[in-house]
């Protein structure tokens, strides 16, 4: 019979690759209370261990893997784990979430977190079970793609995470594969490559995870599942068409990136929509486990069973390059998956190269609208060959060397995802303030502004309030660790919001935002959290505590970034978004960032230079040692 873990084990497996040894530490109970798990806990573990100012590709960088509080309990969409490290792409903290099987395997091996120190002399992979870690020679799989490497590692356990050639060659936006999912952004795979770490495999299935209060957990979970299955996004469009269901919405709202963000919509966008792909490729579900939304799909493309590219891939390797053939986009996606490279940064960097070539800054045959040379460029990037070596450092570095900073579409060095903020100003603010750089998952404002029409996309009033609220919530969700897509069900299904006409919600959001945000019912998440750890849930207060945990994780990350030199000067957008209008707009619109940023800093408790005030840190208990 399997051993049981009630809620969380609080055990951390710490590994030193240089000395090939491991030791075990404990997560203090106080930290668990303050930071939950996942992202918040990962940041806290890193904060306690990482020296500021180190080289992200040096031996002193640390990679932290943390599991969610809900993982293994059977809560839907909870099979996610988080990686936290200092990013080689941005030079600041990066957090990434993944729904692959490695997380579940590590947690059911009895570990709530894993911390990787040092650099191995030779390529290695690490095998983890409940007894600790062993180190194996990875020379045989060094140089292989992610699929082959993962197959090899899975002989040693039930869940693995691996890097491909891009990570080995220190492409600054290399990612990590687990199952068919990826820890995508900021070059977390590059950090593994810099440590000569090809992969980690966990035995798993050694422990059973049980919520502390099973009865209350089951009750909340039932309601949670009902919400997911009733919501038209989670049970409708995304379940049927995946995240690509957003393509036509984005196109109509003018937020689809086209030709390196020079336009916000395109007449051929329908060709890459989820609806078209579902029909063309006969798609079936291919999802994280356990999942109730079922947004991932696979289908038959060019006679092969392939994962259908997600929205961000389709936009950044498709419309943003002027390519509207889903089969070609799938080819690029497969290449990136094999080499282990972030499709958003790859697409964003290639789009920069295309525009730079058109304008005579670099010599290249890459051109918008033509797929010629793109596959070769992706391969060159992965192996750092020829011009690929320059593009492997990302669009910020390339533009610093070759020019074209005005059209290098990144924030803090991280390439922008597939939403043009000139069609949704709140999204612009959230890009600028996102801790890890150009990130849509810090606060998914396009959902509120462009998809559900709950706020005027071009209004400025109250946007800083909404962005802060969403950032805190999303940070808390990533700390609880459950899929962010459940937000649609949790926010939109409670009766108050479900039966209130949208125009009233919009009016409230735009004119009485504080009231509207306070009326948002996100109680399901904290109810599940409390049931798992066996704490009594007090309505409203429990929810406020949950928000606070999210705020704490967000501000801690900001504070860690401040130590790396981040300030107001970095909370900005690419010049194109601030200065250039688009032809698809009735009248030229650019993101009026400055006016929103000032209010945002005040709400966050930052000074005018974007640095958290002492009082703010004190209020959130950041920097204090907990027991």
């Amino acid at each position: 019979m399997k051993k049981e873990i009630i809620g969380t084990s609080n055990k951390v497996l710490e590994v030193d690759l240089a000395a090939r040894r491991f030791w075990v530490s404990e997560i203090p109970v106080g930290d668990r209370e303050l930071y939950l798990g996942g992202k918040g806990m990962g940041l806290k573990l890193l904060f306690d261990r990482l020296k500021p100012g180190i080289d992200p590709l040096g031996k002193d960088n640390i990679l932290v893997l943390t599991m969610g509080v809900l993982m293994g309990t059977g809560a839907p969409c909870s099979g996610r784990f988080e990686a936290v490290t200092k990013s080689p792409l941005t030079g600041i903290m990066v957090t990434g979430s993944c729904g692959g099987p490695f997380g579940m395997a590590l947690k059911t091996s009895g570990w709530d977190a894993m911390v990787i120190h040092g650099k191995a002399d030779e390529p290695v992979f690490v095998c983890v079970d409940s007894g600790g870690a062993t180190f194996a020679d990875a020379a045989g799989i060094w140089g292989t793609g992610t699929a082959a490497a993962q197959d090899t590692l899975l002989a040693h356990g039930s869940g693995a995470m691996v890097i491909g050639q891009a990570g080995e060659n220190l492409v600054r936006y290399a990612n990590i594969r687990s199952g068919s999912r990826f820890l995508g952004r900021g070059g977390i795979g590059t950090v593994m490559g810099s440590k000569n770490l090809k992969g980690i495999v966990a035995k798993g299935r050694e422990y059973k995870i049980r919520p502390a209060d099973k009865k209350r957990f089951d009750r909340a979970n039932k309601r949670f599942l009902a919400h997911i299955n009733n919501n038209p996004v989670t049970a409708g469009s995304w379940r049927s068409y995946g995240t690509n269901a957003n393509i036509r919405i984005s196109n109509a709202a003018g937020i689809l990136p086209v030709r390196n963000f020079t336009a916000g919509s395109h007449g051929q966008a329908v060709k890459i929509s989820g609806e078209t792909m579902a029909e063309k490729f006969d798609t079936r579900h291919d999802v994280c486990k356990p999942c109730a939304i079922l947004c991932g799909h696979r289908g038959t493309i060019r006679g092969e069973k392939r994962h259908i590219p997600e929205y961000e891939t389709v936009t950044l390797l498709g419309s943003n390059l002027g390519i509207f053939d889903p089969e070609i986009i799938s080819d690029f996606n497969e290449l990136c998956a094999e080499y282990g490279m972030d499709t958003i940064s790859t697409g964003g960097t290639i789009a920069w190269a295309m525009e730079a070539a058109e304008k005579g800054l670099i010599e290249s045959d890459l051109r918008f609208g033509s797929d010629e040379g793109i596959a070769e460029t992706i391969t060159d990037i992965a192996f750092r060959r020829g011009q690929g070596a320059m593009l492997a450092d990302g669009s910020r570095m390339a533009s610093k060397t070759y020019g074209g900073e005005d059209f290098a579409m990144h924030v803090k060095g991280m390439e922008l995802p597939g939403y043009d903020p000139r069609g949704a100003f709140g999204q612009g603010l959230s890009y600028a303030t996102a801790n890890r750089g150009g990130c849509h998952l810090s606060a998914y404002m396009v959902g509120v502004e462009a998809m559900f029409g709950m706020a005027d996309p071009h209004a400025l009033r109250w946007k800083p309030y909404m962005v802060k609220f969403m950032e805190d919530i999303f940070s808390a969700v990533n700390s609880l660790h459950i899929c962010l897509f459940t937000a649609f069900a949790v926010f939109l299904e409670p009766p108050l919001i479900r039966f209130t006409p949208t125009f009233i919600i919009r009016h409230l959001n735009q004119n009485f935002s504080l009231l509207a945000l306070n009326l948002m019912d996100a109680s399901l998440w904290p109810e599940l959290w409390h049931a798992v750890v066996g704490k009594r849930y007090i309505p409203y207060l429990g929810m406020r505590g949950f928000y606070k945990a999210g705020e704490r994780a967000h501000v801690l990350e900001r504070y860690m970034n401040i130590r790396e030199g981040i300030a107001k000067k970095d909370d900005t957008l690419p010049r194109r978004l601030l200065d250039e209008g688009r032809t698809c707009d009735h009248e030229a619109k650019t993101v009026p960032l400055d006016s929103m940023l000032k209010t945002y800093y005040r709400l966050r408790g930052y000074d005018e230079n974007g640095i958290p005030r002492e009082k703010t840190l004190e209020k959130l208990g950041i920097g204090k040692q907990t027991k």
Binding site: K51, P52, G53, I54, G58, G360, D406, G565, N609
Partner: protein, 393 residues
């Protein structure tokens, strides 16, 4: 009799005065042009300086072919291509840059494109230099920081191209075109001008003409700096500083780039903090390093910075040191206007990268170790702090 061999190029004609704008049509006519395209910065457009310029052309026989007003704070090839397209469409025959450094650089780049009848600067990025004289180019700085762009360098898309053909034909500093600026902006412009002048004097290649320009610049700054910093919105005081900026940039165009300027620019690239902030903080350290290496500082530095009386009162052997002190004092008074909060912590590996990049720049005569030594020297003085492990934040 001793003969002194030197080269000095001061191509731009400097027009300085309350009504100097009205001289532009005559200057254009002298260069066989009569229909200029105006490249205006956003601030110049916002303040309607274009209208003042148009008024200056009244009844002159010249007409303004168009005003290109999309220039922002970054000089990129995209804007240069658009400006060149407008130039051709309107049948213009000269450029007037109205604004700051970015406006001047866009005008230079567009000038290359139209003069060489091309749509790409790639050959120039790859080392080619203009083969013939460009279209007439008049530069009207509207803020004192722009004045330092009067040299022979085209800075576009983070690349520096050097050629004597990039000098403006005429630089016009007119009080009506002087935009009110903040104390910080005033300090930054003074720092850039002082740096240009200082390193022109320190440069190995001694030329009396270059020194004369640098001395005049330092003298103008010395006489006007404190009043200008107190009342930066006063156009009357901004004008001499702008003029000093022009003189200093011409002097600097005839000298090697100084270590502090190059390092400041590379650090700006790494951190997005303005180069002037680093220059202000690194100059004392760099001067100290020079003295420590027992390389004598030129004695006439004091003459330029503190005037004849102070110069005459100091013994010869102390001239260098006292000159450095006077210069440092000037830098410090300007640096006081730049809030320290703007300086954030900089990871050590970025500092090393900046030093390497600085040492690999064209025409420099120092190594990465020298640059690092300046940073080390500045460690105690600079407002950034030090980590426990000794690494600079």
């Amino acid at each position: 009799m001793q003969t002194l061999e030197y080269e000095f190029i001061a191509h731009p004609r400097i027009l300085y005065g309350d009504c100097s704008l009205e001289e532009i049509p005559a200057e254009l006519a002298e260069n066989d042009a009569c229909k200029p395209l105006v490249i205006a910065s956003r601030e110049a457009v916002r303040r309607k300086l274009g209208k003042t310029l148009i008024r200056a052309f009244y009844d002159s026989g010249c007409i303004i072919g168009g005003i290109y007003d999309e220039v922002r704070d970054y000089a990129g090839i995209s804007l240069a291509l658009n400006a060149a397209q407008l130039f051709r469409k309107r049948g213009c025959d000269a450029f007037i840059a109205l604004g700051d450094r970015a406006a001047a650089d866009i005008a230079r780049a567009a000038n290359i494109l139209v003069s060489h009848k091309t749509d790409t600067l790639l050959p120039f990025f790859n080392g080619e230099t203009p083969s013939r004289r460009l279209m007439p180019f008049i530069f009207v700085p509207t803020c004192c920081t722009g004045a330092s762009a009067a040299g022979r360098t085209l800075f576009i898309d983070n690349r520096r191209l050097h050629s004597d053909y990039y000098f403006p034909d005429v630089v016009v500093t007119d009080r009506r075109m002087s935009l009110p600026c903040s104390a910080r902006c005033a300090a930054e412009s003074a720092i850039l001008a002082m740096d240009n002048a200082l390193w022109s004097i320190i440069d190995d290649n001694q030329s009396p003409m270059k020194n004369a320009f640098a001395h005049a610049a330092l003298k103008l700054i010395g006489d006007n700096l404190s009043g200008f910093l107190k009342r930066p919105r006063d156009g009357k005081r901004a004008l001499p500083i702008a003029n000093a900026g022009v003189l200093a940039s011409i002097a600097a165009a005839n000298a090697r780039p100084g270590i502090v300027r190059v390092l400041g620019e590379e650090l700006e690239k790494e951190t997005s903090i303005p180069a002037a902030v680093f220059i202000a903080n690194l100059t004392p350290a760099a001067l100290f390093c020079i003295q420590k290496n027992e390389s004598p500082l030129p004695g006439d530095l004091l003459l330029a910075a503190a005037g004849m009386d102070a110069y005459a009162a100091v013994p010869t052997e102390q001239l260098g040191r006292r000159g450095a002190e006077a210069i440092i004092e000037m830098f410090e008074s300007a640096a006081n206007e730049i809030p320290e909060a703007a300086i954030s912590r900089i990871p050590a590996h970025l500092l090393a990268e900046a030093c390497n990049n600085a040492a690999s720049r064209e025409m420099v005569n120092f190594g990465a170790d020298d640059a690092m030594a300046v940073l080390e020297m500045a460690r105690q003085e600079m407002p950034w702090q030090t980590h426990d492990n000794g690494e600079r934040k």
